[in-house]
């Protein structure tokens, strides 16, 4: 039985138990068992029985999805001949992979190696059994639950409270997914990074100055020792982000000031949507534009000035990223500026300051924490931005601060390391997770500081 059929049957069963519970509640009043008035409306009894039927089945299904592959795999290994068992423990699960691929390919019969063939057939049989077992188990759990639930249907059962408690707990569970996601992120990058740091010392990663993640297949190959020094990557990321912020901060801030203090309502009605459109354009479009138009333009401009510009210069990626960040900075600074109390502005204007003097000497200093928080958030976005740099920045890790040269970034390397086809155990793929860990820690720190600064600043004027 496939998963879809199991789920459909389960849904049908739940509808059926709702119906039964609904009916039984009405009948129980007539018979007067445990009172002559229902505590809750009949529908709640229906929901209650459906819950009793559904929860055990869902638990069974979840446990199965979590553990079935491990159990089936270990049983398959147990069925292998002694020699191959030892091999499969040493050989990083290669044998298992081979068996699984063979089974999935659907060409078991054509395989010549008899042990492998037997193992694949064994594996397929086990998987079939496990599928059938889960179907039976889940449905039995549902039926038992339903019967138990039906026994609880009596007029004095507080069905509504039961159902509502279940709803509130479900809602709490949904809210807790945020925690689960964070935990999942931390665990997934941390575990793979630890495995990476077994292969490559952490000091080499943090302080190494060369990055060339090619690991050799043979020991005697040229350049066989992959170098995993992350310094050039972080330097490149900082260079591009700095260019982006140098573009975005003045332009975004001035746009926000102009919009809130100078623009006529008409002008605001036109300009705000333009900024929103800029914010809504997918980054892959910015990346394409940077690679197609901006980078060649900068290269030609540089050549006209007699400068040597790389075709994938940091400047092009940084400029386009800066434009992308303008709406972000502008809306955050707008929030910060409009939170400054009216009285401060009026006081300054009343003393005879011009508008620009008021803005520069009163509003901006007062709103500075909010603006700085916004800039930090923008910096975190610039560091984590992927598509623009993947498409417009280079792949070679140069340690330079010249914006006209090609640099690479952390996100570019994560993408290049993980989009090829390679074994999941090689240091090359694991390095991507170590980079991800670095990226996560840096952006997390920036975000926490930024949110704290913004929050404290808001409290100051509230």
């Amino acid at each position: 039985m496939s998963i879809q059929t199991i789920l459909l049957t389960l849904v049908a069963l739940l509808l059926f138990s709702y119906f039964l519970g609904h009916k039984r509640s009405l009948r129980s009043v007539k018979k007067g068992r445990g009172g002559d008035k229902l505590h809750s409306r009949p529908a709640y009894y229906g929901y209650m029985v459906a819950l009793w039927a559904g929860i055990p089945a869902v638990i069974v299904l979840l446990l199965w999805t979590m553990f079935q592959s491990q159990i089936v795999t270990s049983l398959t290994v147990a069925g292998l001949p002694e020699t191959m068992q030892a091999e499969s423990q040493g050989g990083h699960g290669l044998v298992i992979n081979e068996i699984m691929n063979l089974a999935d390919s659907g060409m078991v019969a054509e395989k010549s190696d008899p042990t492998l063939k037997a193992a694949a057939e064994h594996y397929l049989r086990l998987r079939g059994i496990s599928h059938q077992a889960i179907a039976v188990l889940a449905l039995v759990a549902a039926v038992i639950g339903m019967l138990l639930g039906l026994r609880m249907v009596r007029p004095d059962t507080r069905a509504r409270n039961v159902v509502e408690r279940a709803i509130v707990w479900t809602m709490l569970g949904c809210a807790a997914i945020a925690i689960l996601t964070t935990v999942g992120i931390v665990l997934s990058v941390l575990f793979e990074s630890l495995r990476f740091f077994h292969a490559v010392p952490i000091t080499d990663f943090l302080f190494g100055l060369t990055w060339s993640p090619q690991t050799a297949l043979r020991a005697d190959q040229v350049g066989s020792s992959g170098a995993f020094g992350a310094v050039p990557l972080f330097a490149g990321t900082i260079l591009i982000s700095a260019i982006a912020l140098a573009v975005a901060v003045p332009l975004g801030l001035m746009s926000a000031i102009y919009l809130s203090d100078y623009a006529s309502p008409m002008m605001r009605a036109i300009t705000k949507p333009v900024l929103e459109v800029l914010a809504g354009i997918p980054t892959v479009v910015y990346g394409f534009f940077a690679a197609l138009t901006v980078a060649p333009f900068i290269r030609q401009a540089g050549e006209a000035l007699g400068l040597d510009v790389a075709s994938e210069s940091a400047l092009a990626a940084g400029l386009v990223m800066g434009i992308m960040l303008i709406p972000f900075i502008s809306s955050l600074s707008d929030d910060a500026l409009s939170a400054v109390p009216r009285a401060m502005r009026d006081g300054s204007l009343g003393l005879g300051a011009t508008r620009s003097e008021t803005i520069r000497k009163v509003l901006i200093p007062a709103a500075l924490p909010g603006i700085v928080g916004g800039i930090l958030l923008a910096a975190s976005r610039a560091i984590g931005e992927t598509m623009i740099v993947v498409m417009a920045a280079g792949l070679s890790a140069n340690l330079t601060i010249n914006p006209l040269e090609a640099v690479t970034t952390v996100t570019v390397q994560i993408v290049t390391l993980l989009t090829g086809d390679q074994e999941f155990d090689s240091p090359k793929t694991l390095a991507a997770f170590a980079l991800g860990l670095g990226l996560f820690v840096i952006t997390l720190l920036l975000n926490i500081v930024a949110l704290k600064v913004i929050r404290r600043y808001r409290e100051q004027y509230e």
């Binding site: 979590m66 509502e164 509130v168 949904c174 809210a175 997914i177 945020a178 925690i179 996601t181 964070t182 997934s188 990058v189 575990f191 793979e192 001035m254 746009s255 102009y258 100078y262 333009v274 459109v277 800029l278 809504g280 354009i281 997918p282 980054t283 892959v284 479009v285 910015y286 394409f288 534009f289 690679a291 197609l292 138009t293 434009i323 303008i326 709406p327 011009t354 508008r355 620009s356 003097e357 958030l377 975190s380 976005r381 560091i383 984590g384 931005e385 992927t386 598509m387 996100t411 994560i414 993980l418 997770f433 991800g436 990226l439 996560f440 952006t443 997390l444 975000n447 930024a450 949110l451």
Partner: protein
């Protein structure tokens, strides 16, 4: 008195000049955003619009049974295996008798898309009576011919710098003179999946992939997001450490780089739970985690804006808190929640980076039919095409961007309309 005034007036001109300058800077920075948007849209549309047209070539194909290897009484299986490529080759040589030598023969073959034999096969299998006759067929032109027809290959370049050689240009001129070349609306772009040959490539696969991915995302993130928001606004105990922790987490997740979610999807969904790679299912799961913070934050704002008097009235009439939520608060907050959801979905539709991690960059020719088929999505298709070296893919990349932007415009307009139409001020 006058002394002070003089001093003020002396500086006043300077101060006013500074005021004007400041104001001018503000206008300039707005103008730069404006200008950039204009240039971007102009470039995309200028490069992308030609892709909505495609060049076709008319060839009189001599369906000679001797060349095809089958006659008109052949079974469908035999018809399927007939040598259509040869028939096209022979007919092409008839139009251009001067095609002698290997180089020229190959150049001749490269005028027509390599899908032409299949096109011919389908036509013949439908009407086997055609065998033995000479019939005019329109075939897709090869991408180089297409690009040339759109004026993107300069014939004044030295021959070695051109994809089309001099003799091919002469042939194209001849075809044009005979009315054998025609530009038509590019339906392939909307009906075909991806392909290595630009003239056969389309976005249908990516659109369906995006559709299924968005479906999974919507079905998961909307209920979970609303439930989480409702819990945090209406049921969460005040000043509880765990609730604070949840809120901190949500705010942080909203700012975590999207690529990190891709790593999470790779490590947890694919490697731990064994969700199949490259499928809309795993893409939808990752995008759900990404859009949840957006939806939760928007939904909380919408729920908060429902006046307490309504909730108190419901409670006063005997409704339980859960009933109040489902019967009163949520329906009243729904426009705001939906607006937030649409904005979140629009973000998810344009998201690329996390999907690269979970294998949605695979080259998928088939159009996906469910959430478990390997698929790619629109923005990833844009990325894939932008990486292709062929000239003809540049315009197709831009065309895919135009289509993607079209979807985003529709979604965002829907959000704005919804907000305008149903927004209530209490």
């Amino acid at each position: 008195m006058t002394a002070t005034r003089d001093r003020i007036e002396a500086t006043l001109r300077k101060r006013y000049r500074r005021e004007r300058l400041f104001r001018f800077f503000g206008l300039v920075s707005l103008g730069i955003s404006f200008l950039f948007l204009l240039i971007l849209l102009f470039t995309i549309f200028r490069t992308g619009l030609p892709a909505f047209q495609q060049t076709w070539i008319k060839i009189d194909v001599d369906l000679d049974p001797a060349v095809l290897g089958v006659d008109r009484h052949a079974s469908q299986d035999e018809l399927f295996g007939a040598n259509y490529a040869k028939a096209i080759k022979v007919s092409l040589r008839k139009i251009f008798p001067d095609a002698k030598g290997r180089k020229k023969k190959r150049g001749l073959k490269n005028l027509v898309s390599n899908s032409a034999p299949w096109q011919l096969r389908d036509a013949v299998m439908k009407h086997p009576d055609l065998i033995g006759t000479t019939h005019a067929f329109w075939f897709l032109a090869k991408d180089d011919v297409d690009v040339f027809m759109k004026g993107q290959i300069d014939r004044n370049l030295p021959e070695s710098d051109r994809r089309l050689k001099d003799f091919q240009l002469a042939w194209i001129d001849k075809l044009l003179a005979e009315g054998r070349l025609e530009k038509r609306f590019n339906t392939t772009l909307f009906t075909a999946g991806d392909s290595r040959e630009p003239e056969q490539a389309g976005v249908a696969g990516a659109i369906m992939g995006s559709f299924f991915t968005m479906l999974v995302t919507l079905l998961l993130s909307f209920p979970i997001g609303v439930a989480a928001a409702a819990y945090l606004e209406e049921f969460a105990p005040q000043n509880n450490r765990w609730v604070d922790f949840i809120e901190v987490n949500i705010n942080n997740l909203a700012a975590v780089p999207s690529i990190i979610f891709g790593l999470l999807g790779l490590a947890v969904f694919i490697n731990f739970f064994g969700v199949p790679r490259s499928t809309p299912l795993v893409g939808g799961l990752v995008l759900t985690l990404m859009t949840l913070p957006t939806i939760i934050i928007a939904s909380r704002a919408a729920i908060k804006s429902v006046p307490p008097s309504i909730k108190q009235a419901a409670i006063g009439l005997g409704a339980s808190p859960v009933q109040t939520l489902f019967h009163h608060t949520l329906p009243l907050a729904m426009p705001g929640i939906l607006t937030g959801t649409i904005i979140g979905m629009a973000q998810a539709l344009g998201e690329t980076a996390p999907l690269l991690m979970i294998g949605m960059v695979a080259f998928v020719v088939d159009i996906p039919h469910g959430i478990l088929d390997p698929a790619t999505v629109m923005p990833v298709q844009v990325y894939l095409w932008s990486d292709s070296p062929e000239r003809a893919f540049v315009e197709r990349t831009s065309a895919a961007i135009i289509i993607l932007l079209g979807f985003l415009v529709v979604m965002n307009s829907a959000a704005i309309l919804l907000r305008r139409r149903f927004e209530r001020k209490w």
